[in-house]
């Protein structure tokens, strides 16, 4: 009897693994680099900087996912938009001494307007997204260089403490030492609360679905999933708590990720995004305003580019003329590694997150191992191709069995 249940649980776990192939590959990559760097990858200090380094890629990848969902359209302009918004934000902060919150709002509006500009041509005039955003890539980069005169604008933390602290600070620490380990109790409380909330939500949703007579994962699979998620969260936050504590950035990221996850999976416009990408004609014939959906996706991309711009200014303590170069490619790669379809219609926010983490760990791990930056590019290219190939092959196998 028990043996039978164990067997069932194992097949359930196996199915879960099959559905989350990229997550497993990510875990393998983390293990590989942990060994390769002699454990430095999972050093508390490094985890913190990994999050900081990856944060803007994650933000951009989420926006990029919305564009890719609408039919495999990508946005090439995000790096340039990021650079332009960076310069404007830095000028407003440093030269106009404007209120920090006002600067943030203005930056987001500018990002949104640029996105809407792209969206207008793409959705209503039907110029291919590739061309519009390629034009945008040159246009906004050029404008940025004109405005900044190709010079970096420093935004130092001593002169702009509030701005830097919003994106770069940590939740106040209360350090405790137990069993010879010093850690931040605030960080741990936050993470325990978050873990509990996730487990409760998952359990409740399973219960209501079961009571309504829907098929739900078995009890064992459910418990396994809860334990795994809790363990991962608690482990990483514990590492954070040993260092500088809970980065405020993580809260911004969590809000964006949860928000967009909810948007794509639970709301009507989110559903339409998938519908437009899967079969635009059918969506149109179902009464969906497909132009509005396309327009929205690109406007949103502009806003998120602006968010990433603010993160970058704070992180590098300056607006660089070369900021954001190549970021569009990182964001696009993240989405595809995370399982988004190049033809649109499939892909998840979680997938984009996994893809971005993958790229982040790869960058960070290879730098740690002292691999030459030029060679890193070679590896990244191969990994992108391999990751997508792996995904396609495993999907094919799933279909035939």
């Amino acid at each position: 009897m028990d043996k039978h249940r164990l067997g069932n649980a194992l097949t359930n776990v196996g199915n879960m693994a099959k559905r989350n192939t990229m997550l497993i590959v990510l875990a393998l990559v983390i293990i590989f680099f942990t060994i390769g760097t002699g454990g430095i990858l999972l050093n508390p200090g490094n985890i913190t900087s990994l999050i900081m380094q990856t944060s803007y890629v994650i933000v951009l990848a989420v926006g990029m996912l919305m564009c890719i969902l609408t039919g495999g359209n990508i946005d090439l302009s995000v790096g340039s938009v990021l650079a332009l918004v960076s310069v404007i934000a830095a000028k407003l902060l440093v030269e106009a001494h404007m209120n920090v919150f006002l600067v943030i709002i203005i930056s987001l509006i500018i990002g949104g307007l640029i996105g809407a500009f792209h969206g207008f041509w793409i959705a209503y005039i039907r110029i291919p997204a590739f061309i519009v955003t390629l034009a945008g890539m040159m246009l906004w980069r050029g404008l940025q260089l004109v405005i900044s005169d190709a010079k970096a604008i420093p935004v130092t933390s001593d002169k702009n403490p509030l701005f830097t602290s919003i994106f770069n600070s940590f939740i106040p620490n209360i350090k405790l030492t137990l069993f010879g380990v010093t850690f931040d109790i605030v960080c741990m409380i936050l993470s325990v609360l978050a873990t509990a909330a996730i487990v409760i939500l998952m359990t409740r949703s399973r219960k209501t679905r079961k009571s309504k007579g829907f098929e739900v994962p078995s009890r064992a699979a459910h418990i396994f999933k809860c334990v795994l998620i809790s363990a991962v969260i608690l482990f990483f936050t514990f590492l954070l708590s040993e260092d500088r504590g809970f980065p405020f950035m993580l809260i911004i990221l969590a809000v964006i990720l949860v928000g967009y996850s909810y948007f794509t999976s639970k709301t009507v416009p989110g559903r339409y995004l998938y519908a437009v990408g899967s079969n635009e004609k059918a969506a149109k014939m179902s009464g969906v305003d497909t132009n509005k959906i396309l327009f929205g996706a690109y406007t949103n991309m502009g806003v998120l580019s602006a968010v990433a711009a603010l993160i970058c200014v704070a992180r590098f303590a300056s607006a660089q003329p070369t900021a954001g170069e190549g970021y569009e490619m990182d964001a696009i790669a993240s989405c595809f590694i995370g399982g988004a379809s190049a033809y649109g219609g499939t892909g998840t926010v979680t997938g984009a997150l996994v893809g971005a983490m993958f790229m982040g760990v790869l960058n960070n791990g290879m730098s740690m191992m002292g691999i030459d930056t030029n060679a890193q590019r070679v590896v990244k290219g191969i990994v992108l191709l391999a990751a997508v190939l792996f995904d396609i092959l495993s999907q094919k196998r799933r279909k035939t069995t």
Partner: protein, 516 residues
């Protein structure tokens, strides 16, 4: 000359459990024109796909002998190498290529790295002469009509040294004149020794051109009749085609008394979206009453779909003029969502193209046209969505493991039921069904007819467009006949017959040609 060029023996082909071909045999003698008849979905096209290698060797059972030798084609190239060329119903020409470029596409003149354009155009001109098409080889294919494109396809086949020419419904979209030209061309090719198989529904054409007729029904060979046999007559062929079960192919008709008009189109004119000067729908006026099933009969290209789609929130066409009234009130329906809100639903003929999202689940497809019914302030209630999808799955007896299954894995008939569920869920007053039973099996057809009756009982109205005239005669209370964009006749159920419908179409064609 009496040797068989082609023998297909005991061909069996299944599509996900459904037997499309059940022991079909077909023997074609060298130098004859062999007609293959059968209703939609009888298995004719599947059989030809097996022959031409579209369905590769190994995916079907049975044996094919060509010129006495067993053959196993893996793709179309293999079969073309042997001289078997198939011309599909949907022409496969590239609109922005010239006639000559199209003709030698995949079979270029000259060498691989140096196409000899002079030779290409000269050879093309020669072949065009053979098929009697008076066009320059430099003309772009988009600039010539469907009839001429059909002739180009045949010229293309001739350029490949064809031994067996297969034409799938070659005259379906041609007018009387072009059809006659095409059939005469087949007869002259026969004199030159080309063997052909012609798939067609049009019995009068077959008796004009064919030496032998093989009838297929429900995936089985019914019989093969030679022209010299006394059985070679239209009645016999029709009987073979429709079989015995014709009587109960439609649910019992109960007399209905329709109510007030719910949908009126008055002087509706639609222009082609690309060729603005061309009228696709020409001053058409129709009325649909509450609780009434109205049919629109006509040939392919008559403008029926265009009429329906232009009325459905202007989802087709340009320069649309005319009045649309819903329940007596004049409406301006400029978008699909306005049309849906006014109680219209258009169930497309193109379920894969603009009907369903194949990769998504049954549930997602079911609710797509009316998300407001399963969402609150833009947030979807997924549980409710699954529940309603399940309700409609049961109601229409859609065969699927669960409503979370992607639509792509369902059979055509079941996909059609999902499409119907989607629009029934949208809760319209008037459903426009465009070819609702095309390409689905007899059983599923019957269930769709039952659903139509249910809708009528609920006080809805149905406008049904179908190329299957017997279907319209079986389900409609009243039938409009449409031809070349115009409504050319209207028949109440009692008076409607296939002959009368055809006569109206032919009469309008001759009127048109006499006035121009």
């Amino acid at each position: 000359m009496d040797k068989f060029l082609l023998e297909m023996k005991n061909i069996i082909k299944e599509f996900s459990g459904v037997r499309a071909l059940d022991n079909v045999s077909l023997s074609v003698k060298e130098g004859e024109i062999h007609a293959l008849c059968g209703e939609n979905g009888a298995g004719k096209s599947t059989l030809m796909n097996v022959l031409s290698g579209v369905i590769p060797h190994g995916e079907y059972e049975g044996e094919i002998l060509f010129d006495g030798n067993p053959v196993s084609f893996k793709n179309i190239r293999d079969s073309e190498k042997q001289g078997i060329v198939i011309i599909h119903q949907e022409l496969a020409m590239i609109p922005y290529f010239s006639i000559a470029e199209n003709m030698f596409l995949g079979n270029e003149r000259g060498t691989k790295f140096n196409i000899d354009w002079d030779k290409t155009n000269k050879d093309a001109a020669d072949k065009l002469k053979v098929v009697g098409l008076n066009e320059s080889p430099y003309t772009l294919v988009k600039d010539i009509g469907v009839g001429k494109q059909q002739l180009c396809e045949i010229a293309k086949a001739l350029s490949k040294e064809v031994r067996l020419l297969i034409l799938d419904e070659p005259t379906a979209s041609l007018n009387e004149n072009d059809s006659r030209n095409l059939l005469d061309l087949l007869l002259s090719l026969k004199k030159q020794g080309v063997t052909s198989i012609i798939i067609s529904h049009k019995i009068n054409e077959l008796s004009y051109v064919a030496d032998v007729v093989t009838v297929i029904r429900d995936g089985c060979t019914i019989e093969t009749i030679r022209k010299d046999s006394p059985d070679f007559n239209e009645d016999r062929i029709i009987k073979d085609m429709v079989g015995r079960e014709l009587k109960n192919r439609y649910p019992l008709y109960e007399a209905r008394t329709p109510g007030e008009p719910v949908l009126e189109l008055i002087d509706w004119t639609v222009h082609h979206p690309l060729y603005r000067e061309r009228k696709v729908v020409d001053n058409a006026s129709i009325t649909v009453r509450r609780g009434e099933v109205v049919g629109i009969a006509g040939l392919i290209g008559a403008g029926r779909t265009e009429l329906a789609m232009s009325a459905f929130g202007k989802s087709y066409g340009a320069g649309i003029t005319g009045t649309i009234k819903i329940s007596g009130a004049v409406k301006k329906l400029n978008t699909v969502s306005e049309a849906i809100d006014s109680g219209l639903a258009y169930v497309t003929e193109d379920r894969k193209g603009n009907g369903l999202i194949l990769s998504e689940s049954i549930a997602v497809n079911t609710t797509m046209a009316k998300m407001s019914k399963v969402s609150h302030r833009g947030v979807i209630d997924k549980d409710k969505e699954l529940e309603v999808a399940e309700t409609y799955r049961k109601l229409l007896r859609t065969k699927a493991n669960s409503v979370s299954e992607p639509v792509v894995s369902l059979s055509g008939g079941n996909q059609q039921k999902v499409l119907l569920s989607k629009w029934m869920f949208a809760d319209p007053d008037i459903l426009i069904l465009d070819e609702p039973t095309r390409g689905i099996d007899v059983g599923a057809k019957y269930e769709i007819y039952l659903s139509i009756n249910e809708l009528i009982k609920d006080g809805k109205s149905v406008l049904i467009i179908s190329s299957d005239m017997s279907e319209l005669l079986g389900v409609a209370d009243r039938i409009y006949v449409m031809n070349a964009g115009r409504i050319v006749g209207e028949l109440p159920r009692k008076e409607a017959t296939q002959e009368k419908i055809m006569a109206m179409i032919i009469k309008s064609d001759s009127e048109k040609s006499s006035t121009t």
